[in-house]
């Protein structure tokens, strides 16, 4: 596993400074996504409403994590960690549905 970087990183690496303008751009995108999700919920797509809502929420999370939480500028091992955490959560949810999706 992630053998490569962990110990090679010096503790005081040069910090990556993200400009205010970029944050404002990300914020505008997030507001726009929120607008889309509210509008889409209003037009009645039936079962697709929840799918669309979750997709948009995931897109928003991607922006928040990458820019606000600086993930884009972190070491690769951080992204591996998040992947592990998300896969674990996904397993917990989907495997519970082995029970609920089928006739008891």
């Amino acid at each position: 596993m992630n053998d490569h970087h962990a110990t090679q990183h010096s503790s005081h690496e040069e910090a990556h400074v993200i400009e205010y303008g970029k944050y404002i751009f990300v914020w505008l995108s997030l507001i726009a996504f929120t607008g889309i999700t509210v509008t889409a919920a209003g037009i009645g797509l039936g079962n697709w409403t929840i799918v669309l809502a979750l997709l948009i929420a995931s897109a928003k999370s991607w922006y928040v994590m990458n820019y606000f939480m600086h993930l884009k500028y972190e070491d690769r091992v951080f992204r591996v960690f998040i992947l592990v955490a998300l896969i674990t959560l996904a397993i917990f949810i989907t495997f519970t549905f082995w029970d609920y999706s089928f006739t008891r």
Partner: protein
């Protein structure tokens, strides 16, 4: 590990004499952020809880010595087995290896001066001790302690009038203690390894702790929130699991076991790490299949998170779920078996030295294998219907948790004792204690397999006369086991107080902790070592052995 030059003759005050603060006596311990002192704080508090839980176990067994009421009533019996379970699981087995020996030896084994967040480490211990006291104190409250069993199944846990709340709160706090330890260990292993200590030069105990820490971080929050939901449901009447309000009690069971099955691996993975440490040392051989053992730890942690519903085969799940979870249960046995084969292969043609730590490890192998195989029996759907909720299950998980992890803890205590306290226990008495403990243990639990198979339900206060011989044997076994434990701990205590001074490396170990002073100094190393070889490099011994063979 070679090339670690530390002058053996410079004796500095050990961590037992100096601490990280200016306090003396007890305050110097409970305010110390030294990982070794925190490890010992865990050791002694954990053992105190262990003795309490053994006491409850003894009383349960005594009550079952004959059918009908022997000396306590049914309600008290229910509370006793609940307390026995809660204390053993949350206060002994789960923190046993990571919090005690992980804290003490993880930093030393990777060549670091401490864990990365020492103050967080101390906070974990405080959460642990507060949680432990809350769990035990509930016993003194009017209404008595919880009688739900350690699983707190709803709707009973929402409705019973006993003090379930303290137990739930305690388990919640203990969960957070465990999470913080996990966070600390993962970060420490990533950031604090000594120069040259690459991932595949880490001792296997560290690999075990690493896999464990991930399970602690990713599974424990589920039980935290689940127990919090039961607390909310009990106090505020919010409808979540209670069927009267539309809730689904089986969903509670899912959430409970999503954590509590992986928790079994929190318990057993570090014990497997211990076994991987001890076998090479006492067989004088390099471990067989290092990478397989390392990766099987991660594989167990992963597959172990996929099998939780095998605890619920008779609860009323869908058939599809039963099929899937049964299949995955069989898969998870593969990495465990890989480990067992590797351990046995390591001993093959080794030069075996039957000291107490190895003896406990041999008991581990025997008992863990029985526990593992009976686990497969329980994982098979058809057999499970017959055996679910019988004492066969009780025997199975005691063989894994006590026969496996418990004996792993005993092995670790005997293995690292000289390093931790700088003194040696009496090996002959320790060997006797091992024999008595192992015999008593098997006499206590093996009859449960048989009577469970014959239909003795678990957690029952009373039983039919035909089960009497098995219960009698089992209770006698509990007396022998306790006798052995008394001998073992007395021997260790005497060794700690006035045993002979231990040398730096009494067993001939080659991992980093044996290159430090005995007992270790405050920050472990005079100079951070540089690591040049993998762990368990016994090539020197192996060459010597083969030369000897050629000359004779």
């Amino acid at each position: 590990m070679a090339n670690v030059a530390i002058p053996a003759d410079t004796v500095e005050p050990s961590y037992l004499e100096v601490t990280t603060n200016t306090h003396k006596g007890l305050l110097g311990w409970i305010l110390s952020v030294d990982h070794k002192r925190i490890g010992l704080l865990y050791l002694f508090t954990m053992l105190a809880f262990f003795f309490v839980a053994v006491g409850f176990g003894f009383l349960i067994r005594l009550e079952l010595i004959s059918p009908g009421k022997t000396f306590i009533d049914a309600q008290t019996y229910n509370q006793f087995f609940t307390l026995h379970g809660i204390i053993m699981i949350f206060l002994f087995i789960i923190p046993g290896l990571p919090a005690v020996f992980g804290n003490f030896f993880l930093p030393i084994m990777i060549g670091a001066k401490d864990v990365i967040f020492p103050r967080l480490n101390l906070l974990s211990w405080y959460l642990f001790i507060i949680g432990g006291l809350v769990a035990v104190a509930a016993w003194l409250l009017p209404g008595g302690s919880a009688d739900t069993g350690w699983t707190f199944y709803v709707p009973y846990s929402v409705r019973t009038t006993t003090n379930v709340l303290p137990a739930l709160i305690a388990a919640f706090l203990l969960g957070f203690s465990s999470i913080l330890t996990g966070v600390n260990f993962i970060t420490t292993i990533h950031r604090m390894r000594a120069p040259g200590m690459s991932w595949f030069r880490m001792p296997l105990f560290v690999w075990g702790l690493y896999a464990t820490a991930w399970v602690q971080v990713l599974a424990t929050p589920i039980i935290g929130i689940t127990l919090a939901l039961v607390i909310i449901e009990r106090t505020l009447g919010v409808g979540i699991f209670d069927p009267a309000l539309g809730g689904d009690p089986i969903l509670y069971q899912h959430l409970f076991w999503i954590y509590s099955h992986p928790a079994v691996y929190i318990m057993v993975l570090p014990a497997m790490g211990i076994v991987s440490e001890i076998i090479p040392v006492f067989a004088r051989r390099t471990i067989f299949g290092y990478k397989f053992i390392a990766f099987s730890s991660l594989a167990i942690a992963f597959f172990g998170s996929l099998v939780w519903a095998h605890h619920m085969f008779s609860a009323g799940m869908s058939d599809t779920a039963m099929f899937v979870f049964s299949f995955l249960t069989f898969v998870v046995s593969i990495p465990s078996a890989i480990k067992v084969f590797n351990w046995v292969s390591t001993m093959y043609k080794g030069s075996i030295q039957a000291d107490p730590p190895l003896l406990y490890v041999l008991s581990f192998l025997f008992q863990f294998s029985i526990g593992g195989f009976t686990g497969l029996m329980l994982g098979a759907l058809s057999v499970n219907i017959h055996l679910q909720d019988t004492s066969f299950v009780v025997a199975h998980f005691h063989y894994v948790m006590f026969g496996g992890t418990g004996f792993g803890i005993f092995a670790a205590m005997h293995y690292w004792f000289p390093k931790m306290f700088g003194r040696m226990y009496n090996k002959k008495i320790a060997t006797w204690a091992w024999a008595i403990v192992t015999f008593g243990y098997n006499l206590l639990y093996f009859p449960m397999f048989i009577m469970g198979y014959l239909g003795m339900p678990r957690r029952y206060y009373d039983y039919l006369p035909e089960f009497h011989p098995y219960h009698l044997a089992s209770t006698i076994g509990s007396w022998i086991l306790i006798l052995g434990l008394i001998i073992m701990f007395t021997n260790l205590y005497i060794g700690m107080r006035r045993g002979p001074k231990a040398p730096m490396n009494p067993w001939g170990g080659v991992t980093l902790e044996w290159t430090t002073q005995t007992p270790p100094i405050l920050e472990n190393f005079h100079e951070i070592p540089t690591v040049t070889t993998g762990p368990y490099d016994y090539s020197k011994y192996e060459i010597e052995a083969s030369e000897k063979k050629e000359t004779t």
